[in-house]
């Protein structure tokens, strides 16, 4: 029973296994992922406010800046790079169509939040969509087009 400043953990990212990798205990998951070349996950505020680092951990959306890499031990993670199925294709087309990628900084977080929203298979009103993405900042303020893209995707898949 002793504490350490680095730990060995095993987990999977986008289906790829990371076995027994050593991580510093102070490193958050977003920094670890980015250090492995998975730079799709962006870091804005590092205090949970902006949502750019949103990933999926064991099936639910979480902020990867507010999860330590050590806490990911045993979990299954999906980042924006691993969100590449048919649904993602629809989301991406709609984001492009409505010009919902502007500078692109918030996009990975917006896409991962969209993934969680549409996985509920609920038909949401525009107000409800706005409420669902209220934890993601877009500093281009392109919310209108982002809501348009999410709304169209929801209509397509339901």
């Amino acid at each position: 029973m002793s504490a350490k400043n680095s730990v060995n953990i095993s987990f999977s990212v986008n289906g790829e296994n990371f076995d027994d990798v050593t991580v510093p205990t102070r490193q958050h998951l977003a920094d670890y992922l980015r250090s492995q070349g998975l730079t799709g996950t962006h870091l804005g505020c590092e205090q949970g406010a902006c949502g750019a680092c949103t990933i999926e951990m064991d099936g639910v959306a979480v902020r990867s800046c507010l999860v330590l890499a050590s806490q990911a031990n045993g979990s299954s993670i999906t980042t924006v790079e691993g969100f590449d199925d048919e649904v993602m294709q629809k989301v991406k087309n709609n984001f492009l169509k409505h010009n919902a990628f502007q500078c692109g900084f918030c996009s990975p977080g917006m896409l991962m939040t969209t993934k969680e929203i549409i996985s509920s298979k609920k038909k949401l009103s525009r107000d409800e969509i706005r409420s669902e993405i209220s934890g993601n900042y877009c500093r281009c303020t392109g919310y209108q087009s982002i809501v348009d893209a999410i709304e169209e995707t929801i209509n397509e898949i339901n």
């Binding site: 205990t25 958050h28 902020r63 969680e116 209220s134």
Partner: protein
Amino acid sequence: MKAPDFSYFEAQNIEDAIKYKSEDDEAVILAGGQSLLPALNMRLSSPSCLIDISKINNLNEIKIEGDFINIGALATHSDVMNNDLVHEKLPCLVDILKMVAHAAIRNKGTHGGSIAYGDPAAELPAFAVAMNAEIVLSGLSGQRIVNAKDFYLGLFETDLKSDEILIAIRYPLLDVNQHLIFDEVCRRHGDYAMAGLMAKVELDQSKINNLDLVYFATGDKPNVGQNTAKLVIDDGYDYEKLKKSLASEIDFAGDLNSSSEMKLHLATILINKILNKLER
């Protein structure tokens, strides 16, 4: 910024966590980390060690025990919001949790973590005080229960001893004539409130029989407006009178979003908002 250096210990059971915590005064419990990690990243806190209790089994159960609903410390806000028992027995908590941050944070942040962290701007500590909740703590010498009213001592300061861990919160079930009504003023949905109020109201027909007013985001801890509540019962809503009363019993502390004067104003009008909600 990045968190300072600390060591990490993954506890497999409560006993290990308690033992470890009792041996290191500077160690801090990590549950969901949704308040702790921002504080670490902003270097507002520098613990020697994080004792991760998130992998401990059976600490996230939600169940009815007699006249109480018992929420395990590790139940996440999303767990609580999606729980049938909570919907049935304590529906006001579901509405309150909708105001706590955003979905991705509620997926990880825990009920016990928010109660134990004691952020004066957070909803749950004030909710626990208004509900007269019992907080279950476990330490080297066994378990003890502290009433939420006695648990919060000051700014981020609670009655938790150095060998203790919060393991559950027990909320007394409300009678049919009791209601928990809340409201808050904040700049953006999901942000910390500029001021908020939890009011436990006991009605006799439509007359208020008993009233507890507990504020959050107003001072150093959940602030109780005891004398003000009496004035409301006796005379109803009178802005000037209630404002004067609140100013005399609560030490309002301003922050970046609102001055103490602003918080006093908001605290006063929140009473009116609550009374209006009660009429509906």
